[in-house]
C-alpha cells in the first residue's frame, strides 16, 4: 500500500471539513478524489502534504507514519503536489523553477557554493541534465530560459508538474490538473499522466471535476460530500450511485 489515510477528521472551529475519512491508494494506481465544491478535497490534500494538522487520524506513506511532519519534510519522504491555482516562482526561469524541485538532491554545502568548490560545478551540471530530461519528457525544454510567468496556462501547469516530479516523489498529488484546459489539452494531459505513472513509477492522486477525464484516467475514485465519504470504488459505479447523484444534483424527492 502506497498511501493509507486512516480516520482523518479536520475541524476548523465548529465546521467539520473532513469527517472520519479513510482510504487506501495502492502502488502505481491513479486515484481520483472527487466531489462537489466545498466537499473537503483540497483540505484532504493539505493534510496529506502536511500543510494542515488533522484534528484526529493518521496518514501513512509506505507504512510510515507521516501525520505530524512538517510539509517540507513530507516532500523528502516522497509526496509532491501541485496547486489548484498554479503557484510557480514567477520571477524565475522555467529551468530555475524545476531546479528548486531538485533542491534536496543537490549535495553541496553553503560554504562549498560560496567558495565554488569542484562539487558545486559537478552537482549543478548533473542536476541541470536531470532537469532537461524532465523538461524534454513534458515537452517544455524550449521554454527553459523563459520566465515561468510568461508561459501559457497549459505550459505553466506542465512546469508545475515538472517541478513536483523533480522532488523524486513516490506519489504525486495533483489539484485539478485539467482546470482551464481545452478538450485537446485535457486529452494530452491524460496521456502524460499515464506516462508519468508508467515511466517514472509514480502513484498519482488527483482532484478533478472533469468526469470524462477522471473516467478515462482513474483506476479508483473516492467521492466526498461535506467531508464525508459517500462512495469509494470504480467510476462507472459511482455515476450510478444514488448518494453521489444526490450530492451533485440535489435530492429530487424533496425538491
Amino acid at each position: 500500500m502506497m498511501l493509507e489515510i486512516r480516520n482523518i477528521t479536520k475541524k476548523f472551529g465548529g465546521i467539520v471539513a473532513i469527517n472520519d475519512t479513510s482510504f487506501n491508494i495502492n502502488k502505481n494506481e491513479i486515484f481520483g478524489l472527487i466531489g462537489p465544491n466545498g466537499a473537503g478535497k483540497t483540505t484532504m490534500f493539505n493534510i496529506i502534504t502536511g500543510n494542515y494538522k488533522p484534528t484526529s487520524g493518521k496518514v501513512f506513506l509506505d507504512g510510515k507514519d507521516i501525520t505530524n511532519k512538517k510539509n517540507y519534510k513530507i516532500v523528502r519522504e516522497g509526496i509532491a503536489r501541485t496547486f489548484q491555482n498554479i503557484r510557480l516562482f514567477s520571477s524565475m526561469s522555467v529551468l530555475d523553477n524545476i531546479l528548486i524541485g531538485f533542491d534536496n538532491s543537490i549535495k553541496y554545502t553553503y560554504l562549498e557554493s560560496i567558495f565554488r568548490f569542484p562539487r558545486y560545478f559537478s552537482q549543478e551540471k548533473k542536476t541541470k541534465e536531470k532537469a532537461y530530461e524532465i523538461m524534454e519528457f513534458l515537452g517544455i525544454e524550449k521554454f527553459a530560459n523563459e520566465l515561468a510567468s510568461s508561459l501559457s496556462y497549459g505550459n505553466q501547469r506542465k512546469v508545475e508538474i515538472a517541478r513536483a516530479m523533480a522532488t523524486n516523489p513516490k506519489i504525486l498529488l495533483l489539484d485539478e490538473p485539467a482546470a482551464g484546459m481545452n478538450p485537446n489539452e485535457t486529452k494530452q494531459l491524460a496521456h502524460l499522466l499515464f506516462d508519468i505513472r508508467d515511466k517514472f513509477d509514480i502513484t498519482i492522486l488527483l482532484i478533478e471535476h472533469d468526469m470524462k477525464f477522471v473516467n478515462h484516467l482513474c483506476d479508483k475514485v473516492l467521492v466526498l460530500d461535506y467531508g464525508k465519504t459517500i462512495f469509494e470504488g470504480k467510476i462507472e459505479d459511482a455515476i450510478q450511485d444514488e448518494e453521489v447523484i444526490k450530492a451533485y444534483l440535489g435530492d429530487f424527492k424533496h425538491a
Binding site: G101, D103, F115
Partner: protein, 343 residues
C-alpha cells in the same frame, strides 16, 4: 565562470589598485565611503531583495560591527583613558587584535546575534517583519547607551586608529559582491528567490524556508558587521547616535533605487546615492546661475535628491535594473551563450 565575468572582475580589481593615483584625498575618502556602503547594501540586498524579507535591521548589525572593531583596535591604555563613565569590563580590556581579526570578529559576532534573532523575527512576515526588525536597531542603541562598561555609553568611542585604506575597503567590497553572486547562483540562492516569490509554495516543494531565511540573514549580518568595522576605522569616532534608522533608510534607498535583488543595481545605486549626494553638495552653497547670484540653501541637495528618487520610481517601478543583472541584459542583446552557470 564565464569570460565576461572575469573581465568585469579584472576591471574592478584594476580600478581599486589605481584609484589612489586617480583621485585626490577627498575623492579617495568618498570612494572609501562608496565601497563601505556597497558592502552594506550588497549584503542587505541578500535578505531584502533576493530573499524578499522586508527587514529594517542593518543599522543594528553595523553598530555591533563598528563597536567590536573599535574595541579590538583600541589599546588597553587608551581604553582606560576613554572610559570615563565607568571602568571598562575586564574582557573589554583584554580585547586587542590587529585589523583583520577585528573585522572577522565583527562579522562573526553580528552573525551570531542574527542567528539568535532569526527565531523570533521570522515567525512573522511582511510588514510585521519590518516592525520587529526595526525594534532591533533601537534595542542595540539603547544597549550601547546603557552599557558604559562596554561601549562607554553615549560618549562613544574615539581615537580609533585610522587604518582605513582604499585597498581594504575596495578589496572587501569586491569579495562581498563575489560572495553574494556565488550565493545567488547556487541552490541556496534559488531557494532564497523561491521564498521571495512564494514562501508557501517553496515550503511545499521541500525547502526549509526558516533555514534559508536564517542563512540569508546570517550572511547579510556578517558583511554588515564587517562593513561596520570599516566604518569605525573610517570615521575614527563612533557613538550610539551614529547608527540610527537613517543608516538603514539610506541602504534601503540604494537597493530600491538600483532594483531589489540585482547586484548590478546595487552597485549603481550605491554610486548614485553616496557619490551623488556628495556631488550635489554644491547645491547647498551659494550659486551663480546665468549671472543670477543665489543665496546658500542648506538642505537643497536633499530636495533635489528626493525629486530624482521620485522620478526614478515613477519611470522605473522596479528600480533602475529591476531584478536583472547587466550581464543578462547584454547577453539578451547579443544573443549569445545559451545557459551559463553564472548569469
Amino acid at each position: 565562470m564565464n569570460k565576461n565575468f572575469i573581465i568585469y572582475l579584472t576591471l574592478a580589481i584594476l580600478f581599486v589598485l589605481i584609484s589612489p593615483y586617480l583621485f585626490d584625498d577627498y575623492g579617495v575618502r568618498i570612494l572609501n565611503n562608496i565601497f563601505i556602503f556597497l558592502i552594506l547594501a550588497a549584503s542587505y540586498n541578500l535578505i531584502n531583495g533576493v530573499t524578499g524579507q522586508f527587514s529594517l535591521e542593518p543599522n543594528g548589525f553595523v553598530a555591533i560591527g563598528a563597536y567590536v572593531t573599535a574595541l579590538c583596535l583600541l589599546s588597553e591604555d587608551l581604553k582606560w583613558d576613554l572610559f570615563q563613565l565607568e571602568d571598562p569590563a575586564p574582557w573589554v580590556l583584554a580585547l586587542n587584535t590587529s585589523l583583520v581579526p577585528a573585522l572577522l570578529l565583527s562579522g562573526v559576532v553580528a552573525t551570531i546575534v542574527a542567528v539568535f534573532l532569526a527565531a523570533p523575527v521570522f515567525r512573522v512576515r511582511g510588514d510585521y517583519l519590518a516592525i520587529v526588525t526595526l525594534g532591533f536597531g533601537f534595542i542595540i542603541k539603547v544597549f550601547a547607551i546603557n552599557s558604559p562598561e562596554i561601549t562607554n555609553g553615549s560618549i562613544g568611542l574615539n581615537e580609533i586608529p585610522s587604518l582605513i585604506n582604499i585597498y581594504w575597503t575596495g578589496g572587501i567590497a569586491i569579495i562581498t559582491v563575489l560572495v553574494m553572486l556565488n550565493i545567488v547562483y547556487s541552490k541556496y540562492g534559488r531557494a532564497m528567490k523561491a521564498v521571495r516569490d512564494d514562501e508557501d509554495a517553496a515550503s511545499a516543494i521541500g525547502i526549509n524556508t526558516f533555514k534559508i531565511k536564517t542563512m540569508a540573514f546570517g550572511t547579510s549580518a556578517f558583511f554588515e558587521g564587517v562593513g561596520g568595522g570599516l566604518l569605525a576605522i573610517l570615521l575614527t569616532t563612533i557613538s550610539p547616535d551614529l547608527f540610527t534608522f537613517f543608516l538603514t533608510f539610506q541602504l534601503l534607498i540604494i537597493i530600491v533605487l538600483g532594483g531589489l535583488g540585482s547586484m548590478t543595481g546595487t552597485i549603481i545605486g550605491t554610486v548614485l546615492v553616496i557619490g551623488g549626494s556628495e556631488w550635489l553638495r554644491f547645491l547647498d552653497g551659494p550659486m551663480n546661475i546665468f549671472g543670477i547670484q543665489t543665496e546658500a540653501h542648506p538642505g537643497l541637495r536633499m530636495v533635489i535628491f528626493s525629486v530624482i528618487l521620485i522620478l526614478v520610481m515613477l519611470f522605473a517601478r522596479e528600480g533602475i535594473m529591476g531584478k536583472k543583472e547587466l550581464s543578462t541584459i547584454l547577453r539578451k542583446k547579443f544573443k549569445k551563450g545559451k545557459d551559463d552557470v553564472r548569469d
